[in-house]
Structure formats: structure tokens, C-alpha cells
């Protein structure tokens, strides 16, 4: 009986010690986001590993990369509830750094399209999207980013405000408000205009992450046409 009491005490103590462990000093071990949904061909990798197929509920640590194939989608959610809908043929790298006061989240998108729905950030927190030509700071905003193969960036802001800055050349900067789009070219020019119907349609369509099907029964068998629908 005495031994049992001792065993229970040790067990409780070890649980308490584990619970109050500080975050690991090695930032690469920090869980930055989780993959909520995977449609078709989605892969991820660590800086030192090869690409592996991604399954729903995969944890992404800082510096992890994720890429989608043709007709494929991934939905990624950060610890603060912000989410990214990564569209087809897109590659992103997730960075998250727990600073002394606040959490820095930086998503680097090399090529492709991605929708962002960012929760209102605490004063010390930051949510950044980096493309080959620009960096965008986002606070409580939804929108869409499209990076072409040359690295030129189109940023469509649906709600909220985004501060954008070109990384090279003229290094222009600007503030993009809801209903506007910004194009950042290779020369570092930032142009801001009202979003076109095409921009808005693409932003709206980027919300399609629900896989549905239509069933076609024929004498030769049953076919299913799978398509992306709104959630």
C-alpha cells in the first residue's frame, strides 16, 4: 500500500514537470500549423527529408514545406485559428517563431495560389506572407495571393487591410484595403487598383475546399465526377 502511494506520487510529479516544460529551444521542433484537409495530391517535407504524402491532421513545424499537385488542395490552420487554403500547383514554406512577446507566422509562397483568412492578430503577433517579390503584413484580413512562375505577385484583399512592400528593385510599398488588389512586379513596383471581377471571382473560388461528386449510372457501370464545392 505504501509502495503504491509512492508510485502514484511519483507519477503525478512527473506529469506536473512534463506539463510545465518550456517550449523547445530548437525552433524547428515548434508545431506551427496543422493540415486540416487534403484533396488529391498534397505532399510535405522537412528541410532535411524527402517529400512525403500528407494526410489530414499532419502537424507542420517551422521550416516545413508543403506542395500541392494538379487539381489538389490543402487547408492549413495555424495555432491562432488563421487558415490558408493552398490551391493547386502551389508550394509554401511555413515559419513560426515564438518571440519573447508574441508569435511570428511567416508563410513563404514560391509559386501558386493561396487564400488566407487571418484572425485578428494580437499587438505582439505578426502574420506575414512572403513571395519571391514582396512581403505582406496581415492583421485580421481575408484575401487571395497568386504568385506566377516569374515570382510576380497579385494580392487581392477581400476584408481588412494588408501592408505590402516590394523586396527588390524600386522597393515600393503600399496599403491595400478591402476591395482592392495589388500587383508587385519584378522591378519592385507596387500598383494598387480596385479588384477586377476576375480577381474577386478567383478569390471567391479559392474558398472551394469541399469535395463532392455527381454519380452517373450507365449500363457500363457507375461513374463519379468529383468536384470542388464551397464549404
Amino acid at each position: 500500500m505504501k509502495n503504491l502511494k509512492l508510485l502514484v506520487t511519483i507519477l503525478i510529479l512527473s506529469l506536473i514537470i512534463t506539463a510545465f516544460q518550456p517550449l523547445p529551444n530548437n525552433p524547428s521542433a515548434y508545431n506551427a500549423a496543422i493540415v486540416l484537409k487534403v484533396i488529391q495530391d498534397v505532399k510535405h517535407k522537412k528541410p532535411t527529408t524527402n517529400w512525403i504524402n500528407t494526410k489530414p491532421a499532419t502537424q507542420l513545424e517551422t521550416a516545413d514545406q508543403l506542395k500541392t499537385g494538379s487539381k489538389s488542395v490543402a487547408v492549413v490552420r495555424f495555432v491562432d485559428g488563421s487558415s490558408l487554403r493552398v490551391r493547386e500547383n502551389t508550394t509554401i514554406t511555413i515559419f513560426a517563431d515564438k518571440k519573447e512577446r508574441g508569435l511570428l507566422k511567416n508563410t513563404k509562397i514560391d509559386v501558386g495560389k493561396m487564400r488566407f483568412d487571418v484572425e485578428k492578430q494580437q499587438e505582439e503577433d505578426e502574420f506575414i506572407i512572403t513571395t519571391p517579390t514582396a512581403v505582406a503584413t496581415i492583421r485580421g484580413t481575408s484575401g487571395f495571393v497568386n504568385v506566377d512562375e516569374n515570382g510576380q505577385t497579385l494580392l487581392v484583399v477581400e476584408t481588412g487591410v494588408v501592408d505590402v512592400r516590394a523586396l527588390f528593385g524600386a522597393q515600393q510599398s503600399g496599403t491595400v484595403e478591402a476591395g482592392n488588389s495589388s500587383f508587385i512586379n519584378l522591378e519592385g513596383n507596387v500598383t494598387i487598383n480596385s479588384s477586377t471581377e476576375q480577381d474577386l471571382n478567383e478569390a471567391r473560388n479559392s474558398m472551394r475546399t469541399n469535395e463532392k461528386y455527381i454519380q452517373i449510372q450507365t449500363p457500363q457501370g457507375t461513374f463519379r465526377v468529383y468536384y470542388l464545392d464551397f464549404e
Partner: protein, 341 residues
């Protein structure tokens, strides 16, 4: 003490002598729309479900009761009488509508507006406002003693018996018309009636009643879907317009009654028509846009007859061939893949 008792009894006796006869109408609060539909469209109070009771307070008096059922259609300004009845004299007692016609409460006269009853039945379930009024007369039925009224409002004009498929104004392949409808409680059998509508000026009702029937009020049992081809009495003509109605038999005395769906009209594809040929071309094109797949190959090679395919969405809703083509054309960028089960 004895004198006090006599005094109290005297008071009660005198009070009862001078009490005004009264009638109070009780409409069951949990009344279902279906029960009321049965009541409002039935020319037989005894056979109807219990919908109302009358609390008659006229001790030891012989009385006559009259009842009115009136209806105000949605959007109409006035009530019109659907039915009324008047009883023979009876010794007052509390009674309910299903008591009327019984041994001691006989009906002296009654009236039912069959046109309005049919109109109600076409709606499938109570729609608009219904006013029930009961009158209490003395035994000569000349002197009104009391009356009471209640109004029931059914604002939702939705159909109880609704045809899910075919859908109005859609075009279907002759071999692929699944008739589907919503079940209604209390139904013992469902019936299908379908006719050609040869003259577009004909109302849907006229076409259904006067056209040469394709399906003549066929009892299909207690199912909620059937392939039209399986019950056709004559062949569908390509390019023709069809009107169709489903009805449900609700069990009850004297064989029950019918609740009718709305009438739907739809068309039959004509494979010879230019429009149909255009559809085939569009389907081929849109399938080819989606890349190589077995469905596209079968269709391209002429092995797939559109009249033999059945298309459903994930939720079970039927799509026509034309709707499928429109959908894929509109959503080509959102199509992920086509696979064979």
C-alpha cells in the same frame, strides 16, 4: 346549520334556472395539418378525425347545433363557406365533430361546396385561414342561444405531397424519367396520372384531365419513386410535353380520400432535334476538356446512350442530362477527377 344548507342549495338551484345557455368551441391545439386537411375536405363529419368539440352548457334543454366551416385563401379578403351542417334537436350535451350523426345527434341538413373542397385538396394541405363557428339554438332552431368561433391560420402554403422529380420545365430522356415524390403520413397507396399536353394553351389541369392518358391513375403502391417507363400505357412521343400528378390515398372510412400533388409539366427529348444533337456535342467537348477518362471514351465511341444513364448529385437529387452538361461547363475548373466505381 340545516337552514344554511337549504339556503345554499336554493341559491344553486335558482342560479341554474337563470343560467344563460352557452356553447364553447374547443379546437384541439395539437391539431395536425393533416388531420385538419382530412376534416376540411371531407363531407362526412363522423368519418373525419376529431378536430373540434363543443362544450354545451344548457342543462336538460333540447337544443339544435349549427356549424360553419369557412375558408379564406391566402391573399383573399373574405371568407367563403366550405361546408355547414345543422343537427336535429337533441338533449344538450358536450359533443365532438365525430359524434355528429350518432344516435342522439342526427344531422338535419348539411351543405358542402365541392369546388372549394377540391381546391383545398389540390393544395395538399391546409392553406390560408379556416374559421369554425358553432351556433346553439333552442329546439325550434329559431332562437339563437349562443355561438362561438375559432380561426385557424395555416400560413405555410407548402405542399405536403410534392413531386421531387421530374421537375417543371425540364427536358428528360424518354427512357430515364424517375418519378419521385415526398411521402405523406397516413398514405396507404400512391397513384400516378400522366398525359400529353398537346396544346400549350391548355391549362395543366385540363391537359391532365382531358388528354389521352399515358398513365391513367395507376396505383403504384406504397413507394415514393418509380420509373415512368415501367407504368406507361403508351409510348412517349419524342419532343412532346407531359403533365404528371401524384396523389396519395389516405386511409379512412368509405375507402379513404385523396391528397393531390401539384401538377408538373416537362418535355421529352427528341434525339432527331438539332437541340439534342447540340447537347451531345457539348457533352463530348466538355468531357474532352477534362482529360482522358473512361466516361469520355465510352461516349466518344458511341457506346453510351444518354437515354440510358441516370444522374444524381451526392444528396440524391436527380439531374437531367442537360443539367449535367451545364454544371460541368460552368465548373470545369473545379472538376477534380472522373472515376469508375
Amino acid at each position: 346549520m340545516k337552514s344554511l344548507k337549504i339556503f345554499v342549495l336554493s341559491i344553486i338551484f335558482v342560479t341554474s334556472l337563470f343560467a344563460q345557455p352557452s356553447i364553447r368551441l374547443i379546437v384541439f391545439p395539437e391539431l395536425t395539418t393533416m388531420d385538419f386537411a382530412n376534416f376540411a375536405t371531407l363531407n362526412d363529419l363522423q368519418g373525419a378525425p376529431r378536430v373540434f368539440c363543443a362544450e354545451i352548457n344548457a342543462p336538460n334543454q333540447t337544443v339544435v347545433m349549427k356549424g360553419d366551416v369557412e375558408w379564406k385563401k391566402v391573399g383573399a379578403s373574405d371568407f367563403v363557406t366550405i361546408a355547414w351542417f345543422i343537427t336535429r334537436p337533441f338533449l344538450s350535451r358536450n359533443l365532438c365533430n365525430d359524434d355528429i350523426g350518432n344516435v342522439d345527434v342526427r344531422i338535419y341538413d348539411h351543405y358542402a361546396n365541392t369546388d372549394l373542397i377540391k381546391e383545398n385538396m389540390r393544395f395538399g394541405k391546409p392553406t390560408g385561414e379556416y374559421r369554425l363557428t358553432v351556433y346553439l339554438y333552442d329546439s325550434t332552431s329559431q332562437n339563437l342561444l349562443s355561438s362561438d368561433t375559432r380561426t385557424l391560420i395555416f400560413l405555410n402554403p407548402a405542399q405536403t405531397l410534392t413531386i421531387i422529380n421530374p421537375r417543371t420545365n425540364q427536358t428528360y430522356d424518354a427512357g430515364n424519367i424517375l418519378v419521385e415524390w415526398t411521402p405523406i403520413s397516413g398514405a396507404s397507396d400512391y397513384y400516378i396520372k400522366a398525359s400529353d399536353r398537346s396544346d400549350p394553351n391548355q391549362s395543366l389541369e385540363e391537359a391532365l384531365q382531358r388528354g389521352i392518358p399515358l398513365v391513367n391513375d395507376r396505383n403504384v403502391g406504397l413507394v415514393t419513386s418509380i420509373n415512368l417507363r415501367d407504368i406507361l400505357e403508351r409510348e412517349l412521343r419524342p419532343g412532346s410535353e407531359i403533365v404528371l400528378q401524384v396523389s396519395a390515398n389516405i386511409q379512412g372510412p368509405a375507402g379513404g380520400r385523396r391528397i393531390y400533388s401539384e401538377i408538373v409539366n416537362f418535355s421529352i427529348f427528341n434525339p432527331e432535334s438539332q437541340y439534342y444533337q447540340q447537347l451531345i456535342t457539348r457533352f463530348n467537348n466538355v468531357l474532352n476538356r477534362l482529360g482522358e477518362n473512361e466516361l469520355a471514351r465510352l461516349f466518344r465511341d458511341g457506346q453510351l446512350d444518354p437515354s440510358k444513364i441516370q444522374i444524381r448529385k451526392e444528396d440524391g437529387t436527380i439531374m437531367t442530362f442537360e443539367e449535367l452538361i451545364n454544371f460541368i461547363e460552368m465548373n470545369a475548373n473545379n472538376i477534380l477527377r472522373i472515376v469508375k466505381d
